[in-house]
Amino acid sequence: MAASHRTGSGISAQTVPFTFDGVAYQAQAGDTLAAALIANGVQLMARSFKYHRPRGVLAMGSEDPSALVTVGTGGWQEPNARASDVFVYPGLVARSQNVWPSLRFDVGAINSLLAPFIPAGFYYKTFFGPPSRWMLYERFIRRAAGLGMPPSVADADTYAHRAAFCDVLVVGGGPAGLNAALAAAQVGKRVILIEQDAIAGGSLLRENVTIDGLPGADWARSMMAQITAAGGRVLTRTTASGYWDDNFVTAIERRVEPGQPTEHGATDRPAQVLWKLRCGEVVLATGTIERPLVFVDNDLPGVMLAGAARTLALRHGVAPGRRVVIATSHDDAYRTAFALAAAGAEVVAILDSRVAPTGAVIDAARVRFPVHADARPLRALRSGNGVGGIEAVIAGAKRRFTADCIAMSGGASPVLHLHRQAGGALDYHTDRGAFLPGAVRQHHTTIGAAAGTHDLVAILPQSTVVDPLGTATPPQPGPVWHGEAAGKAFVDFQNDVTTDDLALAQREGYVSVEHTKRYTTLGMGTDQGKTAAMVALAQIADGRGLAVPDAGLTTFRPPYTPVTLGAFAGPMRGDHAGPIRRLPLAGAHDALGALWVPAGAWMRPRAYPRRGEALGVASLREARMVRSSAGVVDVSTLTKFEVAGPDALAVVMAVCATPLAKLAVGRGRYTVMLREDGLVMDDGTVWRLADDRWLVTSSTGGLARMARHFSYVIDILLNHPRATVVDVSEHWAGLALAGPHAAAVLADLTGVPSPAHMGLIDATIAGVPVRILGASYSGERAFEVHVPGHRAAPVFEALMAGVTAVGGGAYGLDAMDHLRVEKGHVVIGAEADGRVTPGDLGLGGMLRKTGGFVGWQGLTRPVLADPAGRRHLVGLTAIDDTPIAEGAMLVVRAGEEPLGHVTTAAPRVAGDGAIALGLLIDGAARHGETLVAWSPTRRSTVPVRVGPPLFYDAEGARYRD
C-alpha cells in the first residue's frame, strides 16, 4: 500500500472509513472520494469506455469525465458516480466498473491493441449480413459498451419536488455569486443562491487568498451566513440543471450523497429535491472549466488538470504526487506549482507553451522552480497503470522528466451552459480563445469568471483582497495538437475520442460539428464533453482552416449534470404515479364483495362473484337476474352537465346532433355529440329539467373532452350566450335500477309512480331527495336514480333492499355490458371508435336534418355521406354457440384480409350461445351472411352470422311502460 499523500494541512482531523473494491480506507471529513483515494495513494480508479485504458481523475468536480465508479449497494446502488463528486460518508462502498476481472488487470484493455481496427465509427463499416447476424455482434458490443452495472432492484430512495419564487436566483457560490447574492438580499430582494458543491467558495477553495482579513474559505462561509441573515436562501449541494422558458430554472438538491442509505421509503426525507424556480432575474456565476492539454497518453492516471491538483493540495491537504510536472499555456497553472510545493511535492518542471511568458507570478515561479518557456508536452510516460514522467519538446529539443503527477492546463472555458439553454448568444474572443456570454433573451446576466472576469479585485470591488501571487489573468488556450508524437492523444476522455478520430471524421466528410460529435461520440458521455468541447473545437477548426466560431457549436441541453430519473418522477411513484378515482359508494360495494376493474382512472365494480364463482359465471348470473327480476348498478361515473339560462337550448342544440327544440319539460332523449369532422365524439342522454334548464349525460371516459367542448361552444362558437354549463358529474352519484320489477320496487321506495320511459321526476328515497330518470341501457324497464354523492349510501341501501326482496341484487360492469350488447347499444371507444359517423352506427336517422350542430359540415364530405364502403355496426351470432373473441377479425376465411372486427363480445343473456357487435365494411348490406370471427393471437375461429345489432326485444316492449 502506498504511503499516505496527506500533507497534514487537511481541512479536518475527523476520519471517515470507506471501501474501494473491497479494500478499507480512511478519508477525512470533507473529502471527495477521489481526494480520499489519492490521499491513500490510489490513482487508478476506473477504465475508459472503449479501450479500457486505466484512468484516474482529470478534474475535481462534476465535470470529471474519467473517474466513474459505482457506489452504494442494494436499493442505493448507483452506477457511474463521479469519484470527484461524491463526498465520503461513513461506510461508503465504492467499486470500479466496466472492468473484468479487476481494475488492475482488465481483460478489456485488449481493445487498446485492437484500436487500429476500431477507429471512430468503425461499426458503420462492417457487421453486414442479415439483422440476425448484426444482433449476434450486437450482443457482444452491448456487453462491452455501457459503463456501470444497471440497478437490478427498485430504488430505495424517495424524491421530492418543490416550487419556489425569487427575485434573484444566483447560480454559483464562488466569490462573484456570493457577492451578488448578498448585495441583492441586502436591498430586500428575495434571493436564492445555489451551489453545486457541499460548501460555498468556488475558486476560493483552491486559492491562498485573504478577503477582508479572512482566508477565502472562511470569507465564503461568512458571506453565506450574511446572505441567510439578510433573508436569502442558500442551497448547497444543489445544481441548476435546466434553464427553461420564462426564467424557469430547475435545480437538483442532493440531501444525501450518491449511494448513501436513507431511511427506506421515508417520503418526508427525500434523497433529492427537484426545485422548480420561477425567477425574476437570474445571475449566472458559474465559473470556468479547465481544459486539458492534448498530447499522447494525456489520459494516464496521475495526469490531471492543474486546478484539480491545486484543489487536492489546498482544499483537501492531499499532494497528488511527489514529483510533479506542470504543463500549461497560461499563468493560472503556476499557482498550482506554489500550492503543490507547499504541500511537499517537488515541482520538477513548469512547461509553458508560450515563447516568452512574463508577469509577476512567472517571475516569482522562476525563483523557485525550473520554468521552461516554449515547452510543450509530447507524451506522458507510462509507469505501471499510471504516469511515470513526461516527454516534452522545449525550444525544439526533446527532453524527458520523471514525475508521478502531471498537472496540466490548456486554458479554461467559461461555463455558459445555462446561458445557452436560456437562449443567450455566445461571442468568441480570439484573444482568449474562449466564448464569452453575448446577448441574452431572458432576464439573466453572467458575472465573474464565467463572464471573463478573473481578477478578484474586480469581482469584489468593495472588499480588500490580498493575493500573494498577484492579480489573476485570463487563461489562454493550449496549442492545437498536430500529431507531434505518435500515439493516442485524447480529447474526450470518457468516450476515448482522440485527435485521430476527429481527423478521421473530417476526412470522411463528417465536418459539421454535430456530425463530428455524432460520428466520433465526442461529448456524448456522462460529462457531455465539458472538458472536451473547446479543445475539440479548436482541433476541428484548425484542421479545416477555420476560425473557431465558424466551426460551429453543438447545442447545450438540460440537464447540466446528470440527474437521477427518480428526481424527475419525484412524488409520482407507486400509487401516486397516477391518481386513482374511487366511487362514493366504494365501501358499500366492497361489503358486497365487488371485484374491481379499472375504467380510466376509476375503479368500478366489475361483478359481485359468490364464493368460488368464476367471473364469467357471476356476470352472466347478474345479467340474467336483471332480465328476470331487478338489479342495481353503480353509474356514478357518468358524465353529467347542467345547462341553464335563457339561451340554454341554443347551447344544447349546438352540442347535440339530435332534435331537441320540441322536447317537453320532464322528458329526455338519447343523443349523440359529434366532433367538427362529423364523426361521433360521445353519446348520452339529454333531459329538459325546466324550460331553460337541461341535463346532459355522456360517457365516463369523455368527461374532460366534453367539458372543454361545452366551454368552447359557449365561449367561442356562440359568443357568450345567456347560458351557463356546470359539470355536475361529481355532485351526483348515479344508481341504475333495471329489470321487470324495477318500476314496482322504485314506486315502493318513493311512494309515487315511477316515471315513464324517458320521463323524469323528483322524489325521495330513504329521506334523501333524488332525481329519477326513466332510461334503459339494459333493454329492461330501467331508471337512473341521481342522488348527491355524499348522501348516496342510504339510497343505495334502500335500492338494494328493494331488489333483494324480489330476488334481485347488485350487478357489475360486465353484466351491464352483456345486457347492452344484446340491445345493440354502442360504447364510446368500442363501437364508436372515433372513426364512425352516426350513420355507421345506424343512428343517422336521429340527426337533425337542418344541421346547426357541431360537425354537420364534416358529415357532408363525400366519403362520410356515402354509406357504401364504410364500416357499419352489425350484430354477430356465433353459429356453433362458442364464445367469440373480442377484437377478432371478421373475415370470409381465416387468413384473408379483414372486412371488419368484433368490437364487443358477450354471452347471450336471454337464451344460450354467444353474440357480439362488430364493425363490418358494408355491414348493413351483409345481414344474413356467414363470416368467421378469427383471432389468430388467441387461436380462435368462430363462424358467425351477420345480422342487425339487436338480439333482444326488437319491438322495445320490455322497457316501455
Binding site: G509, R518, R557, T564, A569, E886, T937
Partner: protein, 424 residues
C-alpha cells in the same frame, strides 16, 4: 467515386494504413442544375427518396437541399423505434413495406445502420388493454404481419425488471410484441442513404435553405419550376418537399396551407449502463416508451408538449410525466441518471397519418405530416415518394395518404381522436 466499399477487409486495410484511404462519405456538392428532381430536406426521408430515385428509377440529376447539416432535424432527434404494428390497414401496409426494407437496409446501403430487430413490445395493464392488444395483433396477422400476444409470465421473462406486482399502479397483464420491430442507429440512416445516393451522383447540398419557389409565370397556379435558396436559384423539373417539422413553413413559401401543425416532442437519454432491457417497451394505455441504445443509455420519451412550436425545446413537465410512467413499469430505472434531454419539431397532421402526394401546385409534391412516427418509415417513405416523383402517380401503398383525403373525408385516424393534433 473512388471511395472504398465498407467491409471488415477494408477496415483491416485501414488499420494497416492509419485509415487514410477513407474518402468523404458524400461529396460537399455545390448547387448546380437544372435538376430532374429537387428534394427539399436532407433528412432520412429526403435522402432515401434521392437514393431510390437514382437507384430504382434511374433518375440522373437529383439535388437534395438541406438548410443545415443532413440528418439534423427529426432524423437525429427521435427515439429510433422501428415497427409496423399499427392497427389500421393503410398504415400497416405502409409501415410494413418500410420494415421489410429495414431488414436488408445495411446491406443495401453498404452502411451498417445497426437495425436491431429486438422486438417492439406494447404492454397491457387491464383486460380491456389486453383485448385491444389482441385486436391489434389479430389485425396484423390477418395482414400478414407478425404479432404475438404474450401473457404476463412471458413478458416478465422478456424483461425481468418489469414491476409484475398485481397491486402496481399499472399492473402488467401481458403484451403484444412484434419480433421484427426494434431500433436502428438514427444518424447512420441519414449518412448511409447520403453516401449511397452520392455514389449514384446525387448532389447533397448542405447549408442551403429554401427561401421561396420559382414559378412559371406570375399566376398563383403556375407550375413550380425550382426554388430560391440562400445559395441561389436552383431549377428543377419536379420539386419535392420533404421537411417534416417544417412542412407548414416551406409549403407556406409556396402559398399553401396544410393540415399540419408543428409541435414539440421531447426525449431523454440516461447514462450508459450494461445491458438492462433488451426490448423496445411501449404501453397500450401509458404515454411512455423506452429502449436501451447499443451504447448503453436508456432512451425514452412520452407525449408531445401539445402546443405549436418550432423552437426545438420543451418544458420539464413532459419529461417528468414520461419518466414517472417508465419508472412505474421498471422501478430500477429510477436510479439511472438522465444525461441529456432534447426536443424536435414534429409535423402533426390532422389525422395522425403522413401525407405523401401531389399538392395543388403543378410540379410541387409533399411528403410530411409524420407526427412523431416518421423515423420507422424512412426507407419506405423514401421509396414510395421516389415512385411518385419518378412516375407522377402514387404507388398503391402511398395512394391513400394523399393530401386530398381530408376534404374528401378519407382520414386515416389510428388513434380515433379527430383533427386536433394536441389530442393525439
Amino acid at each position: 467515386m473512388g471511395n472504398p466499399g465498407y467491409s471488415a477487409l477494408s477496415l483491416l486495410r485501414g488499420a494497416l494504413g492509419g485509415h487514410r484511404h477513407w474518402g468523404r462519405a458524400w461529396r460537399a456538392a455545390e448547387p448546380g442544375g437544372p435538376y430532374d428532381v429537387i428534394i427539399i430536406g436532407g433528412g432520412g426521408h429526403g435522402l432515401a427518396t434521392a437514393y431510390y430515385l437514382a437507384h430504382e428509377h434511374g433518375v440522373r440529376r437529383i439535388a437534395v437541399l438541406e438548410k443545415g447539416y443532413i440528418g439534423g432535424g427529426n432524423t437525429g432527434r427521435n427515439t429510433t423505434i422501428v415497427r409496423s404494428n399499427y392497427r389500421l390497414p393503410q398504415l400497416q401496409r405502409m409501415l410494413d413495406y418500410s420494415l421489410k426494407l429495414w431488414h436488408s437496409l445495411s446491406d443495401e446501403l453498404n452502411y451498417n445502420v445497426m437495425f436491431s430487430p429486438r422486438g417492439a413490445l406494447f404492454l397491457g395493464h387491464s383486460d380491456a388493454d389486453m383485448a385491444k392488444l389482441a385486436e391489434r395483433g389479430d389485425a396484423l396477422i390477418a395482414m400478414g404481419i407478425d404479432a404475438e400476444l404474450m401473457d404476463s409470465a412471458a413478458v416478465a421473462k422478456l424483461v425481468p425488471l418489469f414491476d409484475m406486482r398485481r397491486d402496481a399502479r399499472w399492473p402488467i397483464d401481458g403484451g403484444l410484441i412484434q419480433h421484427r420491430g426494434g431500433t436502428a442507429r438514427h444518424d447512420a440512416v441519414a449518412w448511409g442513404f447520403a453516401r449511397a445516393a452520392d455514389n449514384l451522383g446525387v448532389d447533397i447540398i448542405e447549408n442551403c435553405e429554401v427561401t421561396g419557389f420559382l414559378r412559371d409565370g406570375d399566376s398563383a397556379g403556375g407550375r413550380v419550376t425550382g426554388v430560391r435558396t440562400t445559395r441561389g436559384d436552383i431549377h428543377g423539373g419536379r420539386t419535392a418537399i420533404c421537411v417534416a417539422g417544417n412542412s407548414g413553413h416551406v409549403a407556406g413559401l409556396a402559398g399553401l396551407q396544410l393540415p399540419i401543425e408543428s409541435h414539440t416532442l421531447q426525449a431523454w437519454v440516461t447514462e450508459p449502463v450494461k445491458p438492462m432491457i433488451d426490448t423496445v417497451v411501449m404501453s397500450q394505455s401509458l404515454h411512455c416508451y423506452f429502449s436501451q441504445s447499443d451504447k448503453g443509455g436508456m432512451v425514452g420519451g412520452g407525449d408531445p408538449d401539445m402546443f405549436p412550436s418550432y423552437a426545438q425545446r420543451g418544458a420539464p413537465i413532459r419529461l417528468e410525466d414520461s419518466i414517472a410512467q417508465a419508472i412505474a413499469l421498471v422501478p430500477a430505472l429510477s436510479r439511472l441518471r438522465m444525461v441529456r434531454s432534447w426536443a424536435g419539431v414534429t409535423d402533426m397532421s390532422f389525422d395522425g397519418a403522413p401525407i405523401i402526394g401531389e399538392t395543388p401546385l403543378p410540379g410541387l409534391y409533399l411528403n410530411g405530416g409524420w407526427c412523431y412516427g416518421g423515423f420507422k418509415a424512412t426507407p419506405g417513405s423514401g421509396r414510395l415518394y421516389a415512385h411518385l416523383l419518378a412516375t407522377g402517380t402514387s404507388h398503391p401503398i402511398a395512394a391513400p395518404f394523399d393530401l386530398a383525403r381530408f376534404a374528401a373525408g378519407r382520414t386515416i385516424d389510428e388513434a380515433g381522436v379527430g383533427p386536433m393534433p394536441q389530442h393525439r
